[in-house]
Symmetry: C2
Subunit: 333 residues, 2 copies
């Protein structure tokens, strides 16, 4: 089905999305608040193959007026402003976002998108697990999302029809693995696999900062363990601080683990005491990333979908009638 | 100068070293306690270009009898046995090692190498900061050490002549950056940039182990932050536990840092509180790895060399008369 989709915010994610959607044959519109970015995106569109061109609009309201689905692809601090602008246009279609925290965005949607007396836009919080060292429209790539896990939150109040429609849009043309979840479960999971890793990387890099010998001896484990510490502090702070409760819970659990390692190092036989401490992490890492089991058909049912996500599974396709999906559970080892 | 060098232990490091030394024109001998490894190394030698062949000996005493320098390239738990074997042969040449902890190896040398009533072998503790995912002789590579930092410890009791001779051997044919240090300073630095990163990686991977959703959502920061968690627990335990005091000190400092982050997450404005916490790590990582300043000539002097290492500097060449070196200090930014 050809959808009319607008992408608001043409950075790495938004730019890649507008390119990918256009390449998949959708009617794709893009808008960015920065005029230079709009000009760059317009020039790039003109150079794209004729059947995969997107259009760049001059305003959010122009974009909204010509779409049924709006993807808000701006950083968290800018989301409420875009929601306000969408609400002001009276947009009543389907809205999703791509930020890395979902509970906070649900709160923003309640305050800024679902304004009193307006036809309500349906909101499905989303989060593509795609990132690159580079950013901005010039780094965007229609193939960025191929095979990437993309969470779509299915809350109690989410319209299952809206959810499936978005899942179809993402799996059909972009090759995304759609992971059904809830905002709370997503936020807990990304705290463990993304937000806390950023904090650990920063602590590691900061600890070595004043030791020139250490910096010279740093090799592979330091390079990889600190890579994301180079991210802009304001962005990492917004990410972790926007998910403060779940991040603190995961971080405190990590601190308790590390205190156990510290105690092991303090004992009479630190080598013997550390080996069992290290074993669960080694087993988990050797089994990662999870591999796909046999694809199976699953009915479109909120509980079944949430259970799939909770089990680490994902969706690779949505049936044309939107009544079933192709689901993949991770291979149990 | 052509040296007669034996390498005991033909794993990734020892195998690469015997290949590299032979390629640099030295008289290179290798021994491994495993007969299969010896056979593999012998076959590989026969296939090497005629002017860069090494020989594989049948015993440690054969190797020692035909060398002036012995490199002990076995893992830490096997070092004392090789020291005993060397002492039993009455070897009085120069001995070095390649393990990742240096204080513990100095203790072993005192107990096992410098046996009473023997001509003392000179011992210079060493540690190449080279590692790969792969291991064993079949993964070895004559070019493994090109540009790699290789610590040579210059203790109060170390013969400066021995130290410079080894530094020459490593810089001349192998392209190593020799970093002068002491066992204590080395152990403190590698605790920060290698041993603690291994512990953090393990804690991160272990924490996600029982959350299938988290494992599916894990992307770049999880992949890189946990990479070394896949190392064999026994090896990581030997490495961290063999450097227990320095590792515990660095780990406890890291835990205190992370507790400050946890407190920031608990405050009224976690985003504002986290940003300054994240800044030192970001600055350190952006400035890493340190770049080389202008090469300069330094006299062979123990204090000057130790100061060079402490400042994060290294040696790229030793003059033919062994009285000066080419030193590089990191570029100050």
């Amino acid at each position: 089905m050809r959808e009319r989709v607008s992408v608001i915010g043409l950075g790495l994610i938004g730019g890649s999305l507008v390119r990918g959607l256009a390449a998949a044959g959708h009617h794709a519109l893009g808008f960015d608040s920065n005029p230079t970015t709009r000009a760059t995106a317009r020039t790039a569109a003109a150079k794209a193959p004729e059947n995969s061109r997107w259009q760049v609009t001059a305003s959010i309201s122009d974009a909204a007026a010509n779409s049924d689905v709006v993807v808000v692809a701006v950083p968290l601090p800018a989301v409420s402003g875009v929601f306000d602008a969408l609400a002001a246009t009276g947009f009543s279609g389907l809205v999703t976002d791509v930020t890395s925290v979902k509970g906070a965005v649900l709160d923003l949607a309640a305050k800024h998108l679902h304004t009193v007396g307006q036809a309500l836009a349906g909101f499905v919080p989303g989060h593509p697990m795609a990132g690159r060292e580079t950013s901005g429209f010039t780094a965007s790539d229609a193939a960025l999302f191929k095979g990437c896990a993309w969470v779509l939150c299915l809350e109690e109040q989410t319209s299952l029809g809206d959810w499936v429609r978005l899942a179809r849009l993402l799996t059909d043309g972009l090759g995304v693995r759609v992971v059904p979840s809830t905002a709370a479960e997503h936020d807990r999971a990304v705290a463990a696999v993304s937000h806390v890793p950023h904090l650990l990387a920063s602590a590691l890099a900061g600890h070595a900062a004043n030791d020139p010998l250490a910096l010279t001896l740093g090799a592979g484990s330091f390079r990889d363990g600190t890579r994301v510490a180079a991210s802009r502090p304001a962005l990492t702070a917004a990410m972790c601080g926007g998910n403060a409760t779940a991040t603190k819970t995961a971080l405190d659990a990590m601190i308790a683990d590390l205190q156990a390692a510290s105690a092991a190092l303090d004992g009479t036989d630190p080598i013997a005491a550390l080996e069992p401490w290290l074993t669960p992490g080694a087993e988990a890492r050797l089994a990662w990333p999870p591999t796909a089991g046999e694809p199976q058909r699953l009915p479109v049912d909120a509980k079944a979908l949430r259970d799939l996500g909770r089990a680490g599974g994902w969706i690779t396709a949505v049936a044309e009638d939107h009544r079933s999906v192709t689901a993949v559970f991770p291979h149990s080892t």
